[in-house]
Symmetry: C2
Subunit: 252 residues, 2 copies
DNA sequence: CGCCCCAGTTGATACAGATCAGTGCATGGG
DNA sequence: CCCATGCACTGATCTGTATCAACTGGGGCG
């Protein structure tokens, strides 16, 4: 418990990230599962610990990496939220994903050996940097780490491919909120009350909708008693109804 | 050259897949790049060779694996084409992707330790089966193989996330055709003339369109002289024009 | 303090593409 | 041989959501 989970979102620039605790090793960090859940021994844990570098804080709008940067490391979000996005030739933005504490970014950069997107802090963000060559080398010696990397990468594929659905604005938004809620819950945050770190237009862009549509749907959900929306604070009032609306998107 | 590339699509059920050739090791196979291009030594090659199992042929409509099957192996398509899809509770299908010779399927099954989708043969299909535990073990000993797996997985994430765009039917179809063409070309098939193994409704479903829209757009492209469409045979007449239409989808 | 600017919201209108309906054309089985 | 079946195509309508436009409120800064 060395960490106070609920305080993470409120960390400010003056907070210097500590190195975690040898037993728990960044309970909010991406590799928590490697260390806590599965059988990585003390030695492996120590080695993994060695190659982590804490970076940040970044302020809202700053980038952790940018499209075309040479790939050298993957990052785990420690606190705050990050969006990944493409910007096309005409300057139009395309939001690829949002990343919450404990999630990895940069996995899609291994193949092209450069980052294929920008990673932008949405609020104050701290990350762990894992040098990828070092991590890969470690992975050859510690199968559990290799396995965890495979798992993470595999999950990345699964997550990315489920989104490509033809579906209504209602479905998309309901699914989006439920997924965010679940991802926060998985990290020990409150389940039914969440703070959206991203703007309406980021949400819209991510979901392939217009910002106005997001507003309208949220409004309607509120009128129907499914949500309580106050700016970027959202409280989910009726989970089952939301789930019902989203059911087509939430994987059979 | 032991293989006649152009014959692969025409392989019939009576063709027993040979084991390739020690030097080339399945030039159409997914791990060709490991063996030919990068520095895997004879020994590593032989070991990789050992854990491959040739499976098939499957007939059109048969499944290589199904949603929920316990995960044990990834597969490389040797010949034919495969679609991966979800079927939701109401029985509606959602096409996730198409896989051509040389491409890997099952990568998204590592994380949940079960296949999260069906893999269905679109025509006569032969595959290579790689036991994943064996492959992972081999990867700890042969870094090039580990590296190639990381790369493949990473590419899978990149490919999946680019698709999630808000875009017009024209853009989607142009991009789809160009991508198919490029993927065939990368495997040594004819570049501007291709046979669609999948039905119009599979294409539509994959692209998030109605089948009627696919028909209409193909028709219009043909009227504009961009394509020559004859059933499932498509010849690309004006690549640059198509590229121009698709430009918003083809990664800045 | 007051101004500006931007995120968010709400309303009116337009349009791309879904949906419905029907035709043509192969293929295969009785 | 004929009919059933499934895929592909085309035309006519309908609708969800984009788009355009106008308004609101709050936060930062001169």
């Amino acid at each position: 418990m060395g960490h106070d989970e609920t305080a993470i979102g409120r960390m400010q620039a003056n907070t210097i990230a500590d190195d975690g605790d040898e037993q728990k090793f960044c309970s909010t960090c991406a590799f928590g599962a490697v260390c806590v859940g599965r059988g990585v021994d003390k030695l492996g844990l120590a080695e993994l610990h060695c190659l982590v570098e804490h970076v940040g804080p970044y302020r809202a709008g700053e980038s952790i990496f940018r499209t075309g940067d040479r790939f050298g490391a993957i990052f785990a979000v420690r606190s705050g939220a990050v969006k990944t996005r493409l910007v096309d030739l005409e300057g139009r933005e395309q939001v690829l994903d949002f990343h919450l504490p404990g999630e990895l970014i940069g996995l899609n950069a291994i193949h092209p050996e450069m980052y294929p997107c920008d990673a932008i802090a949405l609020d104050t963000v701290e990350v762990c940097r894992f040098s990828f060559p070092a991590l890969a080398t470690l992975a050859t010696r510690i199968p559990q780490i290799q396995q965890e990397l495979f798992r993470r990468l595999s999950k990345g594929i699964g997550d990315a491919s489920v989104r490509n659905q033809e579906s209504s604005a209602d479905e998309r938004l309901a699914a989006f909120l439920l997924e965010l809620s679940a991802r926060y819950a998985a990290r020990g945050f409150a389940t039914h009350s969440l703070r959206l770190s991203m703007s309406r237009s980021d949400i819209a862009n991510y979901l392939g909708l217009a910002a106005e549509t997001v507003s309208r749907v949220l409004r309607r959900f509120q009128d129907q008693g499914l949500l309580d929306v106050d700016g970027r604070e959202v409280a989910i009032g009726n989970v089952t109804a939301l789930r019902d609306i989203a059911r087509n998107l939430l994987r059979a």
